[in-house]
């Protein structure tokens, strides 16, 4: 597979482990589920000790939980730099605190209202980490292109993830990509219209029957998912024939419009991506993540 990885600029981006954050006075910590019922669960951010890539995306008493560790920066511009330049599959290293030297891997991003980068570390390393620890990422991937597939745009896709995801070219000239599932356009919700160079696009899970009918009710964190009829070249939106590829970065949500979030890694508005179902298409094995 011909690509331009040897021309990419490898640059450091750094974030600090994000604290959980909830609304202040008048102290109404509740969010509303799709039926208007208030709920209070842990949500995005922080060190999550017991949820990892490879685990189910469903069933946790949480709202869009980020597995393992979430990092961010307070300065909006710097955080944008972190969120856009970090690519799925990039190496991360703890630079401060008791876990200094521990090595992790970028597995996803979150969008509007949190804008974190999600990094996998083995559980033993998580035990040593502290909120505020600095984690540095060797960012490589922005600018990556495939020589034989000019209409396939790669976003937040590291060269090593590309090598593991792509299976070659089919007889129609399309890029063959292994995916665990395919999401239909009517189930893609929050994140539509928002940036596709960072952030997340969420699978909607309020309608459980529709979710099951689409074969999306068994998703795991880290699963590779194709998005049918969605163009994500510049932001996300319905477009017949377009195909996107994302990875499940964060877990399910009770909120309307939300559910497991997808971090976009590829998109082709003219259908030049051919998804091939492979139940093992998950970042845990693709990126050799250690438990």
């Amino acid at each position: 597979m011909r690509h331009n990885a040897d021309r990419l600029v490898h640059v450091s981006v750094m974030g600090t482990i994000a604290s959980p954050s909830l609304p202040g006075l008048p102290a109404e910590p509740y969010r509303l589920d799709a039926d208007g019922k208030p709920f209070l669960y842990p949500t995005h951010g922080s060190i999550v000790y017991n949820v990892s890539v490879g685990d189910s995306a469903y069933g946790w008493l949480g709202d869009t939980i980020h597995p393992s560790v979430s990092i961010h920066l307070k300065d909006a511009g710097a955080n944008q730099g972190l969120n856009v330049l970090a690519c799925v599959g990039n190496r991360a290293r703890v630079m401060t605190g008791l876990a200094t030297g521990a090595v992790g891997t970028v597995t996803g991003k979150s969008g509007r209202f949190s804008e974190h980068v999600i990094v996998h570390f083995p559980r033993a390393d998580r035990e040593k980490m502290a909120i505020g620890d600095k984690i540095q990422i060797r960012a490589e991937g922005v600018g990556l292109e495939l020589g034989e597939h000019p209409s396939v745009k790669l976003k937040a896709c590291s060269p090593n993830l590309l090598e593991r995801l792509a299976l070659g070219t089919d007889d129609q000239g399309r890029l063959r990509v292994r995916v665990a599932a395919v999401a239909p356009s009517h189930l893609l919700g929050a994140g539509a219209g928002l940036v596709s160079d960072g952030g997340s696009l969420h699978i909607q899970t309020v309608d459980k029957d529709a979710l099951a009918a689409a074969g999306l009710d068994g998703l795991r964190l880290g699963d590779v998912v194709a998005m049918q009829d969605f163009d994500s070249r510049y932001s996300h939106g319905y477009f017949r024939g377009a195909v996107g590829i994302g990875v499940v970065g964060q877990g399910d949500s009770p909120r309307p419009g939300y559910g497991p979030g997808l971090t976009l890694v590829m998109t082709s508005h003219d259908g030049m991506i051919a998804p091939e179902i492979d139940p093992d298409a998950n970042l845990r094995s693709l990126l050799d993540l250690q438990a």
Binding site: A192, G193, V206, D207, F239, P256, G257
Partner: protein
């Protein structure tokens, strides 16, 4: 239609005409990545009025009429949560002081229509006060239909009927397919709007969506807009087109939720005259 409007509280809320604003880089990426600069949001739009086409302007998210806001976050949100469609508004400062207008939309700001003879007198910064009236409005014979941002004035002008089976029948100008509903899915449904993604231009044409007009009342099937805006089979949203098309993917004409219900409680009929500009006698014909 029997309502509880005699119990509603009518309260003043004010904002001022916003100034057009751009990010430091003015460019927006269009559906094919071409960078463009377009007017549309904020300020006062002289030549696009409720009832006009939502598509075809060389603009982005065109907000018809006066686009008003308030710098204070609390007042900004009060404007969004108390103002109802069809509410009366009055200019309270500047050369047009005393002129009356009508609330015709809620985007990132509140949109107010004025008669053309007032245009030249309005200035960015002029204060506009709204008689906010409608929060809490309910249909006594349709308790399972909920109303959002609906003034009694608009409600009674929509030609609503109760069917023999007890459903609420709503005339709408168009039905929107749920898969085009995009930006705004991340927000609660009491705040601003949700865009129709218009990037598939040939689909817009084939489906007739490109005929949508500002002010059109529309129906969306399999959409639950009670506490957010998401996919749910059997649910129905009745909405109002409030701003124009966009060049950006995932964006396009915006719709604001007016009613929510289900297949058991709401049905709709297609009626080209189901437009706010006609319902509220802002325009005589479209």
């Amino acid at each position: 239609m029997r309502t509880n409007e005699d119990q509603l509280v009518e309260m003043a809320i004010a904002g001022s005409i916003s100034a057009p604003a751009f990010k430091r880089g003015p460019f927006l990426p269009d559906n094919d990545g071409l960078s463009v600069v377009r007017p549309g949001m904020f300020g006062y739009v002289y030549n696009v009025r409720v009832g006009d086409p939502a598509f075809g302007w060389q603009g982005d998210h065109v907000e018809p009429g006066a686009s008003i806001d308030h710098d204070d976050s609390g007042i900004h949100h009060a404007l969004h949560y108390l103002t109802c469609m069809g509410n009366k508004a009055r200019v309270t400062s500047g050369l047009a002081a005393g002129a009356m207008g009508t609330v015709i939309g809620e985007h990132a700001r509140i949109l107010v229509d004025f008669e053309p003879d007032v245009h030249e007198l309005l200035c960015v910064g002029d204060t506009i006060q709204i008689h906010a009236f409608g929060r809490g409005l309910a249909l006594l014979d349709h308790p399972e239909v909920s109303l959002k941002k609906m003034s009694p004035t608009l409600l009674h002008a929509m030609n609503l009927e109760t069917t023999e089976s007890g459903k609420l029948r709503v005339p709408v100008a168009m039905e929107l397919p749920v898969q085009v509903m995009a930006s705004g899915a991340e927000l609660n449904s009491e705040y601003v709007d949700q865009d129709i993604t218009s990037g598939d231009r040939s689909f817009m044409k084939e489906s007739g969506l490109d005929k949508l007009r500002l002010g059109d009342v529309v129906a969306i099937h399999n959409a639950d807009h009670r506490f957010g805006r998401g996919y749910r089979e059997g649910h129905v949203a009745i909405a109002l087109c409030i701003h124009g098309d966009s060049v950006m993917t995932g964006h396009g004409p915006g719709i604001l939720t007016l009613m929510t219900g289900t297949d058991d409680t709401i049905e709709w009929t297609l009626d080209p005259s189901a437009n706010l500009a006609l319902h509220l006698n802002i325009r005589e014909e479209l």
